[in-house]
Amino acid sequence: MLRLDCLRAVYPELEGCLVVTIMGATAAELHSLGHRANFFYLQHAMGLASSTGLGLALSLPDQKIVVFDGDGSLLMNLGSLSTMARYRPKNLVHVVFDNESLLSVGGFPTATSTGTDLEGIARAAGIPKVLTVRTVEDFKTAMKNAFHATQLTTIVAKVEATGPAGYVTDLSLVENRFQFRRHIQSLKRS
């Protein structure tokens, strides 16, 4: 399963959400499908995409928030699972693309390649709904269910360790940040 195919499969449904991605391939691939004002790409600070999603979810309880996390990023901030589980916002969908690799820095294997089970860790942390998917169809179904769920969901999507040729987009980091905030403020006014 390719991450890009997963993103493509749910891209239309992302329109009504606020989306936070990790850096590297995930950001570049989502951007390649067509940037929208409701996408925020956290191009560093590994581990904090889920925390950002939690801050958004707690601040905007009526808004659906989607985080596209990765195994390398989540392993840097496993405590975030326990913090998310503690507050378990119903409006947060936490996706972990697990390619068992730190792809963007050269493909070094992460601990999920040697048996660390992020689904098990998320469940044991107390995330109310956790599942692993291995096909695009299952991913699409899991996302659809999570969008309509009334509980915090973590979806571990096992994907191949491949990505785009480059990671730099034509969207400056600061422009993305201001556009994203302005978009949210416009939602609040309407």
Binding site: L42, S51, T52, G79, S82, Y87, L173
Partner: protein, 170 residues
């Protein structure tokens, strides 16, 4: 426990005056009253963290959402947050209002706090983070408001060091 209830209340009231609606916190002795006040206040969203760096992401999310937030941490928690501060708050121009207890400074009896006290201000200066002190009950509200104003106008982290003179009574 000689943590000042009076000073904690003045700080908490000032946060409310400044319309801070979300507080992230990791417990430390000097913060116990403040965290309890946040927990007891139905208008305040309290996020208890596993590690202080999470608070950078949470405050960024709140900022995007238009919600004013603050972070409560020990200076060692500030040390543990530095990558988040640099590669998120500084990189993306995110205002952070950081309340940092200044452990390991003059009067510190706990040996394990002393090394962090030595480097706190040097690191704040190295990171270019404007900082000031909360050291007397008279100036708490004004200084918190000024710190928040600067964080929001400059779109960057600003730190207030909570000192022993304010937080400890004995």
């Amino acid at each position: 426990m000689p943590v000042s209830l009076t000073s904690s209340k003045v700080i908490f009231d000032a946060l409310k005056q400044c319309d801070v609606r979300l507080l992230s916190a990791l417990p430390e002795t000097w913060l116990v009253h403040l965290i309890r006040m946040a927990d007891d206040d139905p208008e305040t969203i309290l996020v208890r963290l596993a590690k202080e760096e999470e608070g950078v992401g949470i405050s960024a999310g709140a900022h995007f959402a238009g919600v004013k937030s603050a972070m409560l941490m020990q200076n060692h928690g500030f040390l543990a947050s530095i990558n988040g501060i640099v590669s998120f708050a500084h990189l993306y121009k995110i205002p952070l209002l950081m309340f940092v207890t200044y452990r390991g400074s003059f009067g510190e009896r706990d040996p394990w706090q002393t090394q962090g006290g030595n480097v706190t201000e040097a690191l704040l200066r190295a990171l270019g983070i404007p900082y000031s002190f909360l050291d007397s009950i008279e100036n708490v509200e004004k200084r918190i408001r000024q710190a928040q104003t600067l964080a929001e106008s400059s779109l960057q982290p600003v730190a207030l060091l909570l000192t022993r003179d304010l937080m400890w009574e004995e």
